[in-house]
Amino acid sequence: MSSVALRTDGSLARPILIALAMLVAGVVLGLPLAIVLVEAFARGPGTYLAALVDPDTIDAIALTLIVALCSVSVTTVFGIAAAWCIARFTFRGRSLLLTLIDLPFSVSPVIAGLVQVLLFGRRGWLGPFLAAHDVRIVFALPGIVLATVFVTLPFVARELMPLMQEQGAEEEEAALSLGASGWQTFRRVTLPNIRFALLTGVLLANARAMGEFGAVSVVSGHIRGATNTMPLQVEILFNDYQIEAAFAVASVLALLALVTLGLKLALERRQSVLLTTKGSAP
């Protein structure tokens, strides 16, 4: 009897829960996105375009793309190396490495930015040394890239680790025993086996890199046309009461994020198609 009652509950609970989830996602996630686009075009496409061709905005977009390219490259190389180490070997400090990889998830990005200033800033630990050698990190591109790397570091590694652990080392060993070099094994066996997870990790890291505000805000110095990334540019425009321009830049940022998510979705589709065709029995 109780199971029958439960089942009736279930048949009611399911649509209610689905509706609730949809509603929350729509209000909290979907609505802001729609408002950004609506506000951006509120004064017509002319104003929108004018806001985008502003030299400072173009510089901000370029800087954002450069920063994303640099930091995602670092994150990718680190992620593959770290995931490989952790999946293939047991070594002293393995759990320490795992904890460190998760650090950016738990520490506020603002703190990461502050640490950079304390380390590399004019009055920081390494400040005099850097000044003597004429190297600028804080309030310049290297600082922004470093802060973004801090924030994006876990994405690729976290995506790859469970997969590489599950796949095991046997295929790599088989390749080695068949005479492949280390590099051949990586390129022909390891990399193809992790390609989908790797791309997913890269896309997520990229989305995060382009959108990062906190850490970058501390180290950039907000120099217009030089160290302003898109999120910072949006804030400056907003504070200057240039609401339409702020929304225009925000819409480009949102668009880049949507493209990233779209790519991720397409990737997952393709992967599941590949898996099902592979899975079908002869």
Binding site: A174, G179, S181, P282
Partner: protein, 372 residues
């Protein structure tokens, strides 16, 4: 005859666990050698050390006369078939088999057409040419196994190493593939070493069997030899079903702990362990018999009995016809006689033959000692 592979004093430790303890072994050219042992006996570690996938802590592996230590796994010309096949999941069957030929440095690499021809020939040999374009996930277990074999053979190895080659297959496929592999070995006469925990597999397939336990070699010998003349109690117990009986030797007589006479053996006085295989035990209907039939089941041409004897229960096996002729049933009292057996006086020592007593009173009861 020089050995194809010579293993000299190889030891390997994983943390505090001694996986291999001073192993000496010669693999003869062209033979099919089985490494047989329970899990944790070190057999897979030994195979991986031969392949160069693991480095020994001490000792040497010689290929011909040459120390293999300087050669990486890929330079040993060893074909390795993994337990779970380790096929490259993103490559077709054809590409899997071709892999070892494609990764050769350009200067020594065969022309494309020659590679294609050799791969096709190998796939025909393992009867899978029609599956060349499939992905590994689309194959059955037995097919994957044969692709793994073709891939290992493609590099024309000097030695073929197989880790539990039939472990992941169901019983029927396993048997077919076992016969097929034996026939293939007769054809190509490639020096081969395979690891197994299945005694039937080792005894049916191998020219010689190496029985391993806890990182040591217990016995090396032909399949008949290790079965009939086990070098230790472990080997006897591991190869086939058996009954273990604690006993004493008293002036050449083998006496069980409860006083029953089991047989005779030429061994010095003292405690010992006797092993009698199920088919070496005879039952006879006896009203005052010490033993009682607890369970009987027909298993193909054999009837298997569980016979209660005092505190213990013994396995007995006999042909169905004999069981029918005896006309016995469950709960009947019987006497037991051992026709043969193996008596071990000390661990690690070879067996002394157990012979039946004359008259054959066997395990007949001392009155009053009938437990049940």
């Amino acid at each position: 005859m020089t050995a194809a592979i010579e293993i000299r004093g190889v030891s390997k430790r994983f943390g505090s666990h001694l996986a291999l303890d001073n192993i000496h072994l010669d693999v003869r050219p062209g033979e099919l050698l089985a490494l047989l042992g329970p899990s944790g006996s070190g057999k897979t570690s030994l195979l991986r050390i031969i392949a160069g996938l693991e480095a020994p802590d001490a000792g040497q592996v010689l290929f011909g006369a040459e120390d293999a230590a300087q050669r990486r796994a890929g330079e040993r010309e060893v074909g390795f078939v993994f337990q779970h096949y380790a096929l490259f999941r993103h490559m077709t069957v054809f590409e899997n088999v071709a892999f070892g030929l494609r990764v050769v440095p350009r200067a020594r690499r065969l022309p494309r057409a020659v590679i294609a021809e050799r791969v096709t020939r190998l796939l025909e040999m393992v009867q899978l040419a029609w599956l060349a374009d499939r992905m590994p996930a689309q194959l059955s277990g037995g097919q994957r196994q044969r692709v793994a074999l073709a891939r290992a053979l493609a590099i024309e190895p000097r030695v073929l190493l197989l880790d539990e080659p039939f472990g992941a297959l169901d019983a029927k496929v396993r048997k077919e593939l076992r016969r097929w592999l034996r026939a293939l070995h007769e054809d190509v006469k490639l020096t081969s070493v395979f690891v197994t925990h299945d005694q039937d597999e080792a005894l049916e397939l191998a020219d010689r069997v190496v029985v391993m336990s806890a990182g040591r070699i217990e016995q090396i010998g032909g399949p008949g030899e290790v079965y009939t003349a086990p070098a230790s109690a472990f080997v006897h117990e591991f190869l086939g079903d058996t009954n273990r009986l604690d006993c004493r030797i008293e002036g050449g007589r083998v006496v069980l702990t409860d006083g029953a006479l089991l047989g005779r053996a030429d061994a010095p006085d003292g405690t010992a362990v006797a092993y009698v295989r199920p088919h070496e035990l005879d039952v006879a209907a006896t009203r005052e018999g010490a033993a009682v039939i607890r369970h009987a089941s027909t298993f193909g041409p054999l009837v298997r009995l569980i016979v209660g004897f005092g505190e213990s229960s013994l396995d007995v096996a006999m042909p169905v016809e004999r069981w029918v002729r005896l006309g016995l049933a469950v709960d009947d009292r019987v006497s037991l006689t051992a026709r043969y057996g193996a008596v071990f006086t000390r661990p690690g020592q070879p067996a002394v033959l157990l012979r039946p007593c004359i008259p054959m009173n066997g395990l007949r009861a001392v009155p009053g000692a009938l437990g049940a």
